[in-house]
């Protein structure tokens, strides 16, 4: 046996053998093909005068565009906050024991998820067309819907209430993903249902809730463009207003798109860190960054060789 064991072999050697790493020709063909296509597309876009890159740089920091970004961000943040808050309430209501509460929550979700958000925006904006005076059935009270609901308020109501319906489904799935044992343990410690929810279940559910909420947030960023029907000039509508004047359609859409990509990217990075934050204590080692986590699953040589859980 000693014939095999090369005395000079290091701890990482394989005796007298030289290791030839596996080649993955198809992988590289595919990779190169994809890269080539991407590079060609980028070059053709950059050199095509019809994309109007000079106009893009001209309008990129146009004051109207920048104001539009402000409105987009403001609406996205406010509406998501409303959506998440109300979504949690609705999720808990849907899981409630009270049939009336539960049915109301389900009805809410059905109606708000079921109708186009555009219709909802128009509904709030034109509430006064349906109810010129809001009396709440109380004599003496008579409010003017138009004064009560400004265009911005209509936008927030329309987008936020709609988002709540979607968020409630996400939160519900998150709550249900936490194993019973956790709420049992909390219950056995005398924690009330609210405490169990806010201190034990939700913080753990965040791991499941955050990724689809990220999708929702990024979706909302773009959905805010629907408020153009209320003549609230957010990012995309600002670009549209400008090109409706000067017909520079393509450059202005590019300006808007680039800004959306920038915001989305910044947000995605933030989401990665949030995910890391809430994965605290769920893995054996220090929680990996999102990139590391992805890498783990399908590794090159030992696809199944990550030491999670069952190997211990």
């Amino acid at each position: 046996m000693s014939g095999l064991m090369n005395p000079t072999a290091t701890a990482t050697g394989h005796g007298r053998f030289t290791v030839v790493p596996a080649r993955h020709p198809w992988r590289w063909v595919a990779g190169t093909a994809v890269a080539a296509v991407v590079i060609l597309l980028v070059i053709s876009a950059l050199t095509n005068p019809r994309f109007g890159w000079d106009k893009v740089s001209l309008y990129f920091r146009d004051v109207a565009i920048v104001n539009g970004i402000g409105i987009t961000l403001f609406l996205t943040v406010v509406c998501m906050a409303l959506g998440v808050g109300l979504g949690v309430v609705l999720a808990v209501m849907q899981l409630s024991a009270n049939p009336v509460v539960k049915a109301s929550a389900s009805a809410y979700v059905t109606i708000f998820r079921g109708t186009p958000v555009l219709v909802q925006l128009l509904f709030w904006f034109n509430l006064s067309a349906l109810y010129p005076e809001i009396t709440f059935g109380i004599p003496g009270v008579s409010l003017d819907a138009n004064q009560l609901i400004t265009p911005l308020a209509a936008a927030i109501l329309g987008l936020g209430l709609n988002e709540a319906a979607y968020m409630s489904e996400i939160v519900r799935a998150g709550i249900q993903s936490i194993e019973q044992g956790q709420s049992e343990a909390a219950g056995a410690l005398g924690m009330s249902r609210i405490q169990t929810l806010t201190r034990v279940v939700l913080p753990q559910a965040m791991r499941v809730i955050i990724p689809p909420t990220g999708n929702e947030f990024i979706g909302m960023l773009k959905t805010t463009s629907l408020v153009s029907v209320l003549a609230v000039p957010e990012l995309l509508y600002s670009a549209q207003i400008i090109y409706s004047k000067n017909l520079q359609v393509v450059p202005l859409l590019l300006v808007a798109s680039i800004w959306y990509i920038i915001i989305t990217t910044v947000f995605s990075i933030g989401q990665g860190y949030l995910e890391r934050r809430f994965s605290r204590g769920t893995s054996r080692t220090v929680p990996p960054t999102p990139v590391e986590r992805l890498r783990k699953f399908f590794r090159v040589h030992s696809p199944l060789a990550t030491g999670k859980g069952n190997a211990s």
């Binding site: 034109n126 067309a129 138009n146 003549a231 000039p233 207003i241 004047k245 017909l247």
Partner: protein
């Protein structure tokens, strides 16, 4: 202005080059008490329709023919005018629900619209056909020439919902291919489709189309200069509104004023669209 070169095609010089319109006491006296007391006139408008109404570079201030005219109307009645942006679809419902006192947004006065609102006409203008530069298919506003072609229009415009279907019917009656009518949500998408060859022509209001083709860098142009089937353009008012009388009186005095002419000049609007004082009310009650 970022695009000063192009916008000079339709001069939009400083606001104050238009002389203030004269105050018309008779018309002002007809105002309902509440509006008079308020001192403002809330105008609903869709500022994506140059040259009638569009945003200034700040994307907030509404400018354009209608904005100048509304300001003149205010001066005539002794009111301050607030131009409130909205989408075209929602202006008429907004007028009926008193969200806006009036709607000034290049409204063609149609029978269907008059079922829901009263109008005070201030202009009479027809349709124009935009075609690709050089008019390769030799199209014109003769319905027979449009048969079997793809014509774009804007949802909600008279051209889109009345003129084009009528043309298409003429085609089929004559045993020809119907017109492939494609309605876009706004003029921008229609123009873009024309540039990219998705449609052969776009039929819409002459003045707007003319303005756009001047801006299009030669990408498209008007097919001839015909002003097809002029229809009144008017101020929308709630049905049987107490406001109507005073607005009509004010517009009557405005359309014969110098201010009216200067506004037209400023936006390069041809003389053919001007109307007489008699036509103001006729537009409303026709």
């Amino acid at each position: 202005s970022l695009d000063a070169g192009k916008e000079s095609a339709v001069s939009t010089g400083p606001q104050d080059t238009i002389p203030a319109a004269a105050f018309n006491k008779a018309a002002a006296d007809l105002l309902p008490a509440d509006v008079k007391a308020r001192g403002t006139l809330v105008v609903g408008t869709d500022p994506t329709f140059p040259p009638y109404e569009f945003y200034a570079d700040d994307n907030k201030t509404v400018i354009g023919w209608d904005a100048d005219f509304a300001k003149a109307l205010g001066e005539t009645l002794g009111l301050k005018v607030t131009m409130t942006p909205a989408t075209f679809d929602t202006i008429l419902p907004g007028v009926s629900s008193h969200k806006y006192d009036v709607g000034i947004s290049g409204f063609n006065v149609t029978d269907e619209r008059r079922k829901n609102a009263d109008f005070a006409a201030y202009q009479s203008s027809g349709s124009g056909l935009a075609v690709k530069a050089g008019n390769p298919k030799n199209l014109s506003l003769d319905p027979m020439k449009l048969c079997g072609t793809r014509v774009g229009g804007e949802k909600g415009t008279t051209q889109g919902i009345e003129t084009l279907p009528a043309f298409s019917l003429q085609c089929t009656d004559a045993g020809k291919e119907p017109i492939d009518i494609q309605l876009f949500p706004s003029q921008n998408e229609a123009n873009l489709a024309l540039i990219s060859g998705r449609v052969d022509s776009v039929l819409s209001g002459l003045i707007g189309t003319g303005y756009a083709s001047k801006l299009s860098d030669g990408a498209f142009e008007l097919a001839g200069d015909q002003d097809y089937d002029p229809t009144p353009v008017g101020i929308a008012l709630p049905k049987d509104s107490p406001l109507t009388a005073s607005i009509v009186a004010a517009v009557k005095s405005l359309v014969v004023s110098d201010t009216y002419q200067q506004i037209n000049t400023r936006y390069g609007i041809p003389q053919t669209v001007t109307i007489s004082a008699d036509a103001v009310e006729a537009g409303a009650s026709r």
